[in-house]
Symmetry: C2
Subunit: 355 residues, 2 copies
């Protein structure tokens, strides 16, 4: 029986060994599986990198953007830029979202005038309010720049910053574009949204530098673009700190502090960021100085312009547009080799897919 | 031999089993070891957290700070604040670094006046320049606020932002404090430096909100406090964008854009950050409205004041100080339960160890 017992023991041992071997095999496989998973991740990351701009056709602009971002973020490259200096600035109207037939903030303004009209019976007979209330476009246009400034003051000032933020937040979720019927946050440019995310994934800090109202944009840019209020620079008015019914309040005054357009853009950049960007994107003459200031710094610099060539999917306008001319900036782009994006050819889609 | 062979096989099997068992034991031990390592890490992290403020004695202020930071950063806590809203603001002079006998920017100003004097022979007979050049403190004091504004204009304007940045950067590394003989960046407060790092490690974004010159501070705050230019809000002047010899230039004008002191601090916060802080630290009446604005928000809020009680290691001043009075802010702190740091009792050290 000794023999048999020994055989039995051997059988048991063999079974144990087989079990152990199986466990060992599994355990040994873990690192391989883990490595495989990592390899898959790395591969996915490569695919993601190559595909960080899926809505961009493989054209000159996409290649210029990727080449720039790669060279300034590659350790050891002579063009390497440390993360703290990777500042990217973007105009908003016409660069990150549409701006036709008029900049969307003007729709907010006229919607507010209509909402406030019952409290202002005198507006029925006062221009430009009468025209706005009567939907008389020609009448509004006739009011000119002075009329616009008056309307901005009437709708953007004389309330607290908290109150204004609430009003804009409500409007942006409910209002619809008169031509597309879309909510305005769905008229952002999908390719530019991808660009924002792409450069952020490469350590850039993204800023909006826009002629639009700073507080108007800040009410929704974080949700829509992932850009927090402190990285949104726009035209802004003076504020006054006071106690209202004992409550600390910041009141928006009808006095301009900064017109963040044209030569005001480098001023806004210096005042708010305090560092020269290395990457800038705009679409009109109002962005010319921003791109000029950006590219005049030493080291690698990128300047891009969105050229609106797409009357079918969006709008087509450039040199002769009344509100957002691309004329001097176009000439400078040609001279200095700035990247010009042909929207109709280089963008696969314009707006994000409807949710 | 069959028997013997079986015995041999058994011995081999036993040896293999022993080896396998040893390997298994090691492999089985890995997760335990890993868990141990994690436990050790967690322990170290606890120790680090407890020790994130090693220069603070275990007093009321340290406990209030840590309790606040813990509660707003603990997931699931009813006081939890998402990272994007963890805004912490700090005054600079007297809060992050010393400010006696006069704010250090005034030493920069007088040093600049002396450096520029050869180009301004008329200064020899014009106040307040004559007094500055002659080191006549009484004469400078007699010039009053108007004199200070004139000197600031003469030394802070009329040059490009790049040039000013270079001048300040040079000064801050070479100038010495008249009483301690230390370079000014060594007169920052070690406990506050730890506080900045502690809240940043907990996902806070740290800002300076100071009455001092914005461009003056930005030349060195990133190196000294780890706070980049875009998170430094100070008094600032108008800028003008122009081409100088064909080169895009931002010229500092002698025209004030914002006095970032007193009620100007909430204005600066809204303009630059666009979000109400949840944590604020100051040391004088100039910070009162900043702390008031911070604590008037809903949800958990922290307001702290550095009380200068340390005539031996630093300076002692409060209600009756001519330049940095802690009077109304003190009363409000008592009423509203703001944290007041008794420097002499709560800080183990004041300045960083000399490198």
């Amino acid at each position: 029986m000794k023999f048999a017992r020994k055989d039995l023991r051997m059988t048991r041992m063999r079974m144990r060994m087989r079990m152990v071997a199986t466990i060992l095999l599994w355990m040994a496989a873990w690192p391989v599986l883990a490595t495989d998973a990592q390899a898959t991740d790395a591969l996915a990351s490569d695919v993601r990198a190559a595909d960080a701009l899926p809505s961009w056709n493989d054209g000159a602009s996409k290649r210029a953007i990727v080449a720039f971002v790669e060279k300034v973020t590659t350790q050891g490259s002579s063009d390497f830029v440390p993360a703290s200096e990777r500042i990217a600035v973007f105009d908003n109207d016409g660069t990150l979202w549409a701006e036709k037939p008029v900049p969307f903030e003007l729709y907010f303004t006229s919607d507010r005038i209509r909402a406030l009209a019952p409290q202002h019976p005198e507006w029925k007979t006062t221009e430009p309010y009468r025209s706005v209330i009567a939907n008389d476009t020609k009448g509004v246009a006739a009011a000119g720049k002075q009329g616009v400034m008056e309307m901005l003051a009437a709708t953007h000032a004389g309330m607290s910053t908290d109150e204004f933020n609430r009003i804009v937040g409500e409007w942006i979720t409910t209002a619809r574009h008169p031509q597309t019927g879309k909510p305005y946050p769905q008229m952002i440019y999908q390719p530019m949204l991808e660009l924002l995310e792409y450069v952020r994934s490469k350590g850039f800090k993204t800023y909006i530098v826009s002629g639009g109202g700073q507080e108007f944009m800040r009410a929704w840019t974080e949700r829509v673009y992932g850009i927090p209020p402190g990285q949104v620079i726009g035209s802004n008015g003076e504020l006054e700190y006071r106690l209202v019914d004992g409550k600390p309040t910041l009141v928006k005054l009808a006095k301009v502090a900064l017109i963040d357009d044209g030569p005001g853009k480098p001023v806004g950049i210096q005042r708010f960021i305090g560092r020269r960007p290395i990457f800038a994107f705009g679409n009109s003459d109002g962005d010319r100085q921003m791109l000029e200031w950006t590219t005049a710094g030493s080291g690698p610099r990128f300047a891009g312009l969105v050229h609106h060539t797409d009357s079918k999917r969006e709008y087509a306008y450039d040199r002769k547009d009344a509100l957002a001319k691309l004329d001097k900036a176009w000439d400078q782009a040609m001279q200095q080799g700035w990247t010009v994006v042909d929207m109709s050819k280089e963008w696969k889609v314009v707006y994000p897919a409807t949710p």
